[in-house]
Symmetry: C2
Subunit: 334 residues, 2 copies
């Protein structure tokens, strides 16, 4: 049987209220008694039950974190940052994966809400269903927007634009783009940013010919590899000299495909990824990419979920181009 505040009170010969006030550091209580009570607490090894406490205060110190897949390095990093900040503030993190499945997402949201978290951080998969459910709990959405809730994300369109701009400025005129699933806003934004980067370039260079080919899949390694293969197996001469991807994972899969086909990076093919996961600087060659400021995203998200930020509805962060060795000047035209 666990030790309750009553046991402590009894042993110390005081009332439960007094013990409670001893525990609440800021309350006024006679020094002798305080010492006595603290002694008993120590001796009995009493640990306040959060159950009673939560009920009484009608408030938990839980933050729900609902992401597609903790195995994805981007989300792992996000989870880590969020957890670090949260636990520094005395909150604990409830983790759940949606596996990009709307059904699973809904169930997980339900499960989380039944635990009455103080707030919810959500990387939503589906647009509907969810928004009715999360009423009542402060919810902040990361990466993907959700009707009626705060959103923290990187400026994905800008990132896509930067990727196109980088490749074009290196002289590439035949580009490929490996997109994420069109069902997500993130994918769409990155891709349309990429496209408008090209459009803008052509406008400025009065109609210069820029070819581009876009293929679509998931954000994972495998999609990068398969779609990369598709792009790279175009007839020689029409094969892109540079490819941008919607995630670093795809980019790494793409590098893999290039290696298999004997295509050298960056000599024959420039690659630029998106995210800047830790691995990006460890693959060979080191990956040029569009970095998402994850720590910043995590910080703002948590502050927002704790209600410390003005109730602004959207925070959009600037991505930054990280130049490494996977991108280089276009090979001379022969």
């Amino acid at each position: 049987m666990a030790i309750t505040i009553k046991d402590v009170a009894q042993h110390a010969g005081v009332s439960v209220g007094t013990v409670s006030r001893v525990l609440a550091k800021n309350s006024t209580v006679n020094d002798a008694i305080r010492l006595k009570v603290e002694g008993v607490i120590e001796q009995l090894g009493y640990r306040p039950s959060s159950l009673g406490r939560n009920l009484r205060l009608n408030r938990t110190y839980l933050i729900g974190l609902l992401i597609p897949d903790i195995t994805n390095p981007f989300f792992a990093e996000l989870a880590k940052q969020v957890e670090m900040l949260a636990s520094a503030e005395g909150y604990s993190v409830l983790l759940a994966n949606t596996h990009d499945d709307p059904k699973a997402e809904q169930m997980q949201v339900e499960a989380m809400l039944s635990r009455l978290p103080f707030g919810l951080i959500l990387v939503p998969v589906s647009d509907s269903a969810v928004n009715t459910i999360v009423a009542g709990t402060r919810t902040v959405t990361v990466d993907r927007p959700l009707q009626g809730h705060a959103l923290v994300s990187v400026d994905n369109a800008r990132g896509g634009y930067m990727a196109a701009d980088h490749l074009l400025s290196l002289g590439h005129r035949n580009l490929g783009y490996i997109s994420g699933p069109s069902s997500t806003e993130v994918s769409r934004a990155r891709r349309s940013g990429f496209i408008s980067g090209i459009t803008e370039f052509r406008r400025q260079h009065s109609g210069m010919v820029v070819e581009s080919r876009i293929v679509e899949g998931n954000f994972d390694y495998l999609s990068g590899e398969t779609l990369g293969r598709t792009l790279l197996q175009s007839a020689p001469g029409t094969r892109p000299t540079a490819i941008a991807t919607a995630s670093d994972q795809q980019a790494i899969g793409l590098m893999r495909a290039a290696a298999d086909l004997g295509i050298r990076v960056p000599e024959d093919l420039s690659i630029i990824g998106f995210d800047d996961i830790p691995l990006a600087s460890l693959v060979f060659p080191r990956l040029t990419t569009i970095r998402q400021p994850i720590a910043e995203i995590a910080r703002i998200t948590l502050e927002a979920v704790l209600g410390r930020l003005s109730p602004q509805k959207e925070w959009m962060l600037e991505p930054v181009l990280i130049r490494r060795s996977s991108s280089a000047f276009a090979p001379p035209v022969t």
Copy 2:
């Protein structure tokens, strides 16, 4: 104000007890009333509070998961598996990172216990301190042993042995080993398994000369790269023709170092990792490795923590050798 069971009772014109019994599907309640109550619940959007429930039952449906670093692909995979299984059983997962820091570990354990999880899954960093603290909550340890608690792990010594055996059977006689930190039992077991693999081989081949050089660092990419560089920069002729590592991350860092130095894998250097993280089959060349059966580890761990397994104190799983392209026959001696 949230809707409570009282509100439901009032609206339905029944007592709270009845509503409670309607919610507990297996109880006996008149059909007409059941329907009526269910209607009111639906209409009011009532959602039982886990706060009251937990207090009354003196039981939460939380599983604490305390790992060194969610960013490490191995732990990410473990977390994913555990979360999947747990949520299927109606439990939620509390996640925390220790960052391999005993101080942080202790704080995190305290924080978790104050939430009264039903059980705790722990990948311990430090050997002391913790074991007194976790008394009272069923705790299962993964990967690293902790006095007085159940342990689920792979047979690390066996894994190390298998790595040595694999390289030796390919004809390599000059081996390198990149170890994890000696402070962890895991590292020590893998390394000593590797060493005894060599010893055993020499015994069976009556004293055949096998050289080996061991360096030590962390489990991460960076350590693999730096230590790899150290090993590979030995005087030519004495440089190892095969290197085993204590983690796939190290192995990938090592591949990176080899690429930088112009050493071809597997032609000039065979590499074998440990873990079989998803990335292992995506790097170039695909990584030969010793697989930990993570799904199995997760399954057993969760069952154990839920108290469904006989109170056996230790489960040790067999690792399995996954042969891919990063290891090959030793180059002919010149």
